[in-house]
Amino acid sequence: MSAEIKETEPLFSPKNRKLLSIPLNRDNPITMQVLGVCSALAVTAKLEPSVVMALSVVFVLGVGNVVISLLRKTIPPRIRIIVQLTVIATLVILVDQFLLAFAYDVSRQLSVFVGLIITNCIIMGRFEAFGMANKPWPSFLDGIGNALGYGWILIAVGFFRELLGSGTLWGYPVLEKIGLYSTGYENNGMMILPPMALIVVGIIIWVQRSRERDLIEEN
C-alpha cells in the first residue's frame, strides 16, 4: 500500500505546477501560441463580458480536456476531430444555456461569441496536443492553465479598455468618483472601438517580450 502511494505523483508536484504556470506567461495561448485570438478580442470592450468569457473558457477547456483524456484510448484517430468537436459543442451548449438562464444581459452582449468558443482554436489545440496523450489530472491542470493564460489577457484588455474608454470598471464610475473629470480629463472614445483591442494586445506583447528577451522573434 505504502509503496503504491510512493509511486503515484503528488497532486501538485513541481511538474504539475509547471503545467499550470507556464501557459500564464512564457507559453501564453494568445501572445505566444497565437491560439484563440478570434473570440478574445471582440468581447473585451467592457470588463464584465471579458470575465464571463474567461470563466466560460476555463470551464469548457478544463472539463473538456478531462473528458478527452478519459476517452483518449477509445477515440479512433481517424474521426477524432469530429469527436472533439462534439465534446466541445456539448459543453458550449451547457455554458450558453446557463448564461441565458442566469446572466441574460451578458449573454446578449456576448451574442455569437459564446457559440464561437466551439471553434476557439485554443480548445482544439489543447485537446490535440495534450488531452489526447495524457492522464486526466495533468490534462485538467493543463486545460485550466491555458484557459487562465487566455483569461488574464482578456481581463487585462477589458480592464484598460473600459477604464480608459468609458471611465468605469464593471459599470462603476471610478474616474468620476475620484474627481478626474473636474480637472479637464476626457474619456478616450477610441478605446471602445474594436481595433483598439488589437493594439492593446500588441502592447501587452511588447511589454512581455521586453521582459523576457529570449522570446523575441525573427522579423
Partner: protein
C-alpha cells in the same frame, strides 16, 4: 436585387469579418507570412462560406428555428430546436468542408494542390461558424440574401488577409523594435487597418 447587392458590399467593407468582428484571426495571423499562401487560404474561405451559409440558412429555416418544423404537420408547429444550433451548424460545416475537398480533388486537382492543407483547417476557422451564427442572428429574409452575405464575408476576409500579408512581406525591410517583431507588430498593423476600415462606417448603402 438592390437589397442583395447592398448586403454583399456591406459585409465586405462595413461588417468585415476580420476588422469589425475579429473572426478567423488564428489562421489570419498564422498564415499571413506570404501573399501566395494567403491568396490560397482566402479563396478557400470564400468558397466554404459561400456554401455553408446558405446550407445552414435552409437548416435554420426548416429544421431549427421556432416553428420551423410546421411543414411536418400542425403538431410540430411549436417545436423549437434552437438549442441544437451549435452542434448542427458545426457538423454541417465539418462535413461541407470534407465534401468541398473531395469535389475539388476530383474536378480541379491543380486548385486542390494549391489549397493543400488549408481546406481541412477551415473547418475550425471561426469566420465560417461566425458567418452562420451571424446569418441566424440577423434574420436574413431569403436564401439569396444569405448567400450574398456568405460570399461578401468571404471576400472581406480575403481582402484582409492578402492586405496584411503584403504589408508583412514589406515590413521585413524595416527596423521594428525588437520585442514587437513578428506577432506584436502584426497585431498593431491589423488594428491600424481596422481603424482605416472604420471610415466605411458612416457610409449609407
Amino acid at each position: 436585387m438592390e437589397e442583395i447587392t447592398s448586403i454583399f458590399v456591406k459585409s465586405i467593407f462595413i461588417d468585415n469579418m476580420v476588422f469589425a468582428y475579429f473572426l478567423g484571426m488564428c489562421s489570419y495571423l498564422a498564415v499571413s507570412r506570404t501573399v501566395k499562401t494567403s491568396v490560397g487560404l482566402g479563396i478557400a474561405v470564400i468558397f466554404v462560406l459561400g456554401i455553408t451559409v446558405p446550407v445552414n440558412y435552409l437548416i435554420n429555416e426548416y429544421l431549427l428555428g421556432p416553428g420551423a418544423l410546421s411543414w411536418l404537420g400542425p403538431t410540430f408547429a411549436d417545436v423549437n430546436l434552437n438549442f441544437l444550433t451549435f452542434i448542427v451548424f458545426i457538423a454541417v460545416i465539418a462535413s461541407m468542408v470534407q465534401l468541398v475537398e473531395m469535389v475539388i480533388e476530383k474536378f480541379s486537382p491543380a486548385l486542390y494542390i494549391s489549397l493543400g492543407i488549408f481546406l481541412p483547417l477551415i473547418a475550425v476557422n471561426c469566420a465560417i461558424l461566425g458567418g452562420s451564427l451571424f446569418m441566424q442572428e440577423r434574420e436574413y429574409q431569403s436564401i439569396a440574401e444569405a448567400t450574398s452575405f456568405g460570399l461578401g464575408s468571404g471576400v472581406g476576409w480575403f481582402i484582409a488577409i492578402v492586405g496584411i500579408a503584403a504589408i508583412r512581406e514589406k515590413i521585413r525591410y524595416s527596423n521594428v523594435p525588437a520585442p514587437l517583431r513578428g506577432l506584436g507588430i502584426t497585431y498593431i498593423i491589423t488594428g491600424l487597418m481596422g481603424i482605416a476600415f472604420m471610415m466605411f462606417l458612416g457610409i449609407k448603402i
